[in-house]
Amino acid sequence: MATDTVTLKIKRGESGGASRWEEFRVPRKPMMNVISCLMEIQKHPVTADGRGTTPVNWESSCLEEVCGACTMVINGRVRQACSALVKDLSPKGEPITLEPMTKFPRERDLVVNRQRMFDALRTTKAWIQIDGSHQLGAGPKVSQDDQEVMYPLSRCMTCGCCVEACPNYNDRSDFMGPQVISLTRLYNMHPSGRMQAGARLDALMGAGGISDCGKAQNCVQVCPKGIPLTESISVMGRETIKRALFGWLLKG
């Protein structure tokens, strides 16, 4: 008995301020997702009980779950708003709740500051060091098997679902999160990326690195891209142990 409207309960608020809940009702349309509901509110910023309010602020860009911008907590679960379909969230007209992620400082309404995730990419040297963008011929050959391991790792869109779910990621710890551990695995697999593997491992062995992971495995369950995070954590765990034990020999 799906109704002809969608009810949304949205947790709103300012940076550092108190939160308030606002309820909205928007017309239900086919193939609707959470973003299209928020767009309806922009066009009619009126709460369910008829009070005029302001449009909700949120982040989005691609609307096809590939940019990572629109992450929020929807019905208690962290995920992308653009791929959260109303027909699945509210088959019978149940209210849908939207909250900002909790592991990052709120900036306004559903917008949080995820700069910490981008900073971690700098710390772990998440790039392949090339000699320059000028012509140096073809790249290294890569087997189909390796490509099949690397491509899924490379789809991480820095969306934050994994760290939102991780019990060890919070404002009291420096933990950089499973996504950078997984990306380090990617760069260390690449035929030329491998040449700087040691420096990346050192970063993972430093503050906020792999030893902060308690292996709770929450992360892998919420990654929208199905990235094998726990597998990467155990691969890199072995690599860092090897480096801790024999690294001084290799450094020579």
Partner: protein, 669 residues
């Protein structure tokens, strides 16, 4: 200048260049500037890693000839200009096609996980408008993978120190400073009209700031949101290009808007189903019986009308996009065919998935693309033909940019003229320029043009900077303060729009704009309708002046509705450029199609000229006259290849599908 440092001012400020936009075009420009030793301020609406370029699925073209088919960069060049219906200047296209293999190799060295052949080489697939395997791809998210590779290189430059002319590190200064969540608000132009910097706004707190730059580049992407719903990311409003246009930059070929043949219709966005689906063997069809309401999967082979294959036996489902879109539009809208009674056609891969091996091969190559259908349309595309319809996708038009031709007839690298807009010191690259695609872009040529554009823009900006007698950093601050104040006041005025004088909701106005543009200025264009659009746009501009700030109390914090007013203003300005260009161009060329001028439909009408090279082999140049666009035209450089008919081997247009009951006749349009 010799006595002064080219890197530091006397007060030890670093002289930087500015790049606005961190998609593929902007990031490649940044890399080239850094390699030239020039520090950069990089501004972007969103973290650059979330730029619209992530959406590209299918791939990037380069004639590497891995399959030994005899492909060559020259063929790529020719097919690019032919695909663009000869409206693109040929020297830059030649430069791009020649550089393409090197670009793909560079991306591979940066770690893009491209798909591979058994030997470990790059794999290539087929795309529209060619018979060769020319498109390199990384799963179904090539754009994302390319963007990440460039993003990573730029992140590295965020950690590298600036060095002064003697090679000494400047403490605390990094080669790249990123300003993410910043919106362009204005250009700073000096008395002689030279661009000396920008004013931009921090979207997190509303603060406006003037940035000095010894060369400025806009790499701000396309204007898809002018059409409301499109395949574009929702940040693609074209606002930055509109600001440049309103400050005097020429906007070229605005009327050429690519409509992609295959997207999933929905309320918030028309999600693309990549051309790679057809490249890998996907077929487009409709039920022969116009009244057929069965599910696609239940319709037997003999009752399907594969209209692209029938009409184009050589290119079949891989004709260029403008042609495919028009054929689907015509078949569904005018001839009355449908998919389950909806205004849609089928795009089908189920025939490839009949065996487990077939299905797994399709999954391997197209999983990411088909996942989009599964996720957003909620049906399994391995079992069900997908329902699709054309959608606005790409703007061939954009800011006008120059090029310098070398002795070999190709673009001359290193010249300060390349990618220079009509405002001296201001450059443009990526989808926000107009240069490489003429009247229609070939699939997988855009990622290439963005990166090639960036490779050319960086050195061009460096050459410009070196040739300037005075650096922006040595000018009096008055110039910057004035533009800063103008934009601060402008924003304050927008932000205080409340009360009964401001009764219009800007998001509703945007919806109206989008619906009108989508209906009347896309696949088929009629003069009378375009006249209506142009007059409605005047009304909409008046309504914009009544549009309210929906959150006037929010100051010093995020305020998306007020910022949207600025973007809507830009969209209205570009809508007028697009519609005016379409109205005035009296021919059919590439994506610009007027049924009244199609000789196939009107064989006896001398006015139905089709493509009219004698009168219209010209670039449209729009300048802002204070109210709206004034149009002029400029000759196209076709110095390398003579014009040819743009023929993809169509057989008689009127041919009915075999086996169709003769009595049915064309449906009412």
């Amino acid at each position: 200048m010799a006595a002064k440092s080219s890197i530091l001012t006397q007060s030890n400020q670093v002289r930087r260049a500015i790049v606005v936009g961190g998609g593929l075009g902007g990031l490649m420009t940044v890399i080239k500037l850094c390699e030239a030793g020039i520090p950069v301020d990089l501004l972007s609406l969103v973290p650059v890693k979330r730029s619209h370029s992530v959406c590209a699925q299918g791939g990037i073209n380069a004639s590497v000839n891995v399959k030994g088919e005899g492909d060559s960069p020259y063929t790529h060049f020719y097919e690019t200009v032919k695909g663009g219906d000869f409206l693109a200047n040929q020297p830059p296209c030649k430069g791009m096609a020649d550089a393409a293999p090197g670009i793909v190799f560079m991306l591979d060295r940066m770690g893009v996980p491209f798909n591979r052949t058994p030997e470990g080489n790059l794999d290539f697939r087929r795309f529209g408008g060619t018979l060769f395997h020319r498109t390199a791809f990384a799963g179904a998210t090539t754009g994302q993978q390319l963007l990440y590779a460039l993003d990573e290189q730029v992140r590295r430059y965020e950690t590298l120190d600036v060095e002064d002319d003697r090679g000494v590190t400047v403490p605390g200064e990094k080669m790249v400073r990123k300003f993410e969540f910043w919106d362009l608000a204005g250009l700073v132009l000096d008395d002689s009209g030279v661009c000396r910097g920008v004013v931009a706004q921090d979207l997190k707190n509303g603060e406006m700031r003037a940035f000095r730059g010894d060369a400025v580049c806009l790499a701000t992407g396309g204007p898809g949101l002018v059409f409301g719903r499109s395949t574009n990311s929702v940040i693609n409003t074209g606002s930055a290009a509109a600001i440049a246009y309103k400050q005097g930059a020429i906007y070229a070929n605005g009327e050429f808007i690519q409509v992609h043949p295959t997207a999933i219709p929905a309320a918030d966005k028309l999600r693309l189903i990549s051309e790679s689906v057809r490249g890998e063997g996907g077929r487009v069809w409709v039920p022969k019986d116009r009244k057929d309401r069965r599910h696609g999967r239940d319709i037997p082979e003999a009752e399907r009308y594969y209209f692209l294959e029938e009409r184009y036996p050589k290119y079949r489902n891989l004709v260029p996009r403008d042609i495919a879109s028009r054929e689907i539009f015509r078949t569904v809208i005018h001839e009355g065919y449908s998919a389950e009674g909806e205004q849609a056609a089928y795009l089908d891969v189920t025939h490839l998935c009949k065996t487990a091996a077939g299905k797994s091969a399709v999954r391997k190559k197209l999983e990411g693309v088909l996942e989009i259908y599964e996720k957003f349309a909620g049906a399994d595309p391995y079992e069900n033909p997908m329902k699709i319809f054309p959608a606005v996708h790409y703007s061939m038009g954009g800011l006008w940019v120059d090029f310098e031709k070398g002795a070999d007839g190709s673009l001359k690298p290193g010249s300060a003229r390349n990618q220079a807009t009509s405002i001296p010191g201001l450059y443009a690259t990526g989808e926000s320029d107009y240069q490489y695609h003429g009247a229609n872009r070939l699939g997988a040529n855009s990622l290439l043009s963005c990166i090639y554009g960036g490779m050319v823009t960086g050195p061009a900006m460096a050459a410009w900077r070196d040739a300037q007698p005075q650096s922006a950093f040595d000018l009096s601050s008055t110039l910057f303060d004035t533009e800063h104040k103008r934009r601060v006041d402008e924003y304050a005025a927008l932000g205080s729009r409340s009360g009964s004088d401001y009764s219009v909701n800007p998001y509703q106005l945007h919806e109206k704009l989008g619906e009108m543009m989508l209906q009347k200025v896309t696949v088929e264009r009629h003069d009378a309708e375009l006249d209506g659009v142009l007059s409605s746009l005047q009304d909409m501009k008046a309504q914009w002046r009544k549009a309210a700030a929906l959150d006037p109390a929010a100051k010093g914090t995020i305020n998306q509705p007020t910022v949207f007013l600025r973007h809507l203003d830009g969209m209205l300005a570009l809508a007028e450029v697009i519609a005016r260009g379409a109205r005035d161009r009296e021919e059919c060329r590439g994506a610009h199609y007027k049924p009244a001028l199609d000789p196939e439909l009107h064989p006896d009408d001398p006015k139905a000229v089709g493509r009219d090279d004698a009168r219209w082999l010209k670039t449209t140049l729009a300048t802002f006259d204070g109210e709206g666009p004034a149009l002029r035209y400029e000759a196209v450089d076709v110095s390398l290849e003579p014009l040819a008919k743009r023929d993809y081997g169509k057989v008689s247009a009127a041919k009915p599908p075999p086996g169709e009951a003769a009595a049915q006749g064309p449906a009412n349009t």
